[in-house]
């Protein structure tokens, strides 16, 4: 696995405190976070994290505050060093890098967007966006050209010479995003990047991010505490609790097959009709069914009117090429939307 592309995290532990090594045996034996703090004076940050992130995908890391999600993402560019474990990027052992190699990694291959923007208040928008390029040693003229392009791309043309505090929160985070994109790093870490923004601006920023991702195909690790955000942008979603991963899967897995009660509670309020796709709940192909057809990737909400109008309230499910792959009945649909799924047949 360590030779593979993408980001691979294996057996990662992080304990904060005076002597992390001394309490590691307890941690490995599964001492609770609370007990570790009260009886041993150490804070459990991360516990046995194993996570593989495919290149060019968006991996969401989700959890409530204090669950360790920001700590986890900082291990990828080693803003935090682990107590134990491995981090590999494209077959390279990140923990084995010396200072110079680590700087090189941060300058060229990983960039980052921060929750509270973390812009440099004494620099203009142009110089903020060009910061990573300056660290790469790019000449001033080149920097202006390349940074200028990204400023335009995130919709801030005309603000090049403004200072960050003259901009609204949403615009500041556009600067933060442009700063991260400008280095052309293939990996982008986003630590609650949109959490500090107003709901409307947030959804604008999500749209912008997905639009950019369609053409840039970066490997994005996106930290959030917002389930809807996670479902909208994540190819895969890892849910953290008390420093450990409870479940890692795509949005269909999380919503339809929550690993435990904690996650079940988490997803209770979600609108399944807008999250679950027909392909995730369909039954096996039935002969004798023809038209109307329902796409494998359609959301349940969109499939409802089609199936309701179909004869016998049952429709054929077809893949992208139009070949039938299953069937969906109105009963099944309604059951899935309301959360009382019939058991799902094996595909």
């Amino acid at each position: 696995m360590t030779g593979a592309d993408g980001i691979h995290i294996g057996g990662l532990y992080k304990v904060f405190g005076g002597g992390p090594a001394s309490v590691m045996p307890l941690v490995r034996d599964g001492v609770t976070k609370q007990e570790l703090l009260e009886n041993h004076g150490h804070v459990l940050g991360l516990r046995d994290i194993n996570l593989s992130i495919a290149p060019r995908s968006i991996q969401v890391v989700m959890g409530l505050s204090g669950c360790g999600k920001s700590t986890l993402v900082r291990h990828i560019n080693r803003l935090i060093d682990p107590t134990e474990g491995e981090v590999w990027i494209d077959g390279e052992d990140v923990l084995a890098l010396d200072r110079a190699a680590l700087r090189h990694l941060r300058r060229h291959r990983i960039s980052m967007v921060f929750q509270r923007f973390a812009l440099f208040p004494h620099r203009t928008v142009m110089d903020n966006v060009g910061y990573g390029l300056a660290m790469q040693g790019v000449s001033r003229a080149d920097r202006a050209e390349r940074a200028g392009r990204w400023i335009e791309r995130v919709g801030l043309a005309g603000y090049e010479d403004s200072y960050a505090h003259h901009l609204s929160g949403g615009m500041q985070q556009r600067v933060g995003l442009a700063r991260a994109l400008a280095t052309d790093a293939e990996i982008m870490l986003m630590d609650e990047a949109f959490s500090a923004l107003d709901p409307l601006i947030r959804s604008d920023m999500r749209t912008l991010l997905l639009e950019l991702q369609k053409e840039l195909h970066k490997t994005i690790v996106f930290v959030t505490h917002d389930l809807e955000e996670a479902i909208e942008i994540g190819d895969r979603i890892a849910i953290l609790r008390d420093g450990g991963i409870v479940q890692n899967g795509d949005s269909q897995d999380i919503v339809l097959r929550p690993a435990d009660d904690y996650i079940a509670e988490f997803i209770q309020g979600i609108n399944r009709g807008r999250v679950v796709r027909v392909g995730s709940i369909m039954g096996p192909v039935e002969s004798g069914l023809d038209g109307p057809d329902c796409s494998l990737d359609a959301y349940l909400e969109d499939a409802l009117p089609v199936v309701a109008r179909a004869p016998g309230n049952e429709a054929r499910v077809v893949d992208a090429d139009g070949a039938p792959v299953g069937a969906i009945s109105l009963d099944r649909l309604i059951g899935a939307v309301s959360g009382n799924d019939p058991p799902r047949e094996a595909r």
Binding site: N77, L79, L102, R103, H104, L105, R106, R107, H108, I110, S111, M112, F114, R116, A118, L119, F120, P121, H122, Y131, G132, M135, Q136, Y163, A164, H165, H166, L167, S168, G169, R179, T183, L189
Partner: protein, 295 residues
Amino acid sequence: MADWLQSFPTLDEGALRALKKSIDAGYRAFSRNYGDAIESFFDPLLYVLIWFERLLLGAPWWLVMGAVAGLCYASSRGVRLTVAVAVAFFVIGYLGMWDDTMRTLAIIFVATVLAIAIGIPLGIAMSRSNHVQAFMLPILDVMQTMPIFVYLIPVVMLFGLGKIPGLIAVVIYAVPPVIRLTNLGIRLVDREVLEAADAFGAGARQKLFGVQLPLALPNIMAGVNQTIMMALSMVVIASMIGVKGLGQPVLQAVTNQYFALGLFNGAAVVGLAIVFDRITQSYGRRIQAEREARS
């Protein structure tokens, strides 16, 4: 009742005298052996001080006034302040204190530059290591609370009377604020901003000069401002060990009870203080204003 309960147990007089004598003798021997070497070490400083004093005294008064007013405008961008500074200098000169003011200006300027040159690196060192900070803080406390006359003694023993001992005394007295506020300013820089610099691969030096020092600048300027104020407050005391300038007439006024002479020269010191204070403060405020009011 035992004797030591009745009266305070003191070291007996002979031993105490011997202790003081040996400290004195030790320091005297040190000053005899190394005094010349240390003095010649400070020679370049003396040349700079004398050169600068001659420059100010030799230049036509309107040129000096123009330079000060220009500096004032450049740092504050305020017309009213600039005019006020020019008027203050004019009044000082009109009341016959121009030459003394130039001498004081020279030593204050050199002392301030020296204090900044020593203070900022020390402040940076303190900000980077808690050990250095723990070591430096009590020293700074002593420097600021020890009566000034006490550290005039060893300085005078080493250098005799004159400009250099005066300069050293002024710098020792005036350097703590710039050290403290450099340290504080750097420590107050937003951690997230520093993390961003780290995340983009900034090295230690790039972080210091590109992020930490620029963001600490308003605090550092506040330190420089206090340093100048403290240097000015040393003018009269420095005149006791032979530093010429506005302090000497004040000293003369005290010993001879010349009230007006003391008042005029004292007012000139106050005038200089206000000028420097406004210039450095408005500069500090201007850089701060560019960064504040984050929405």
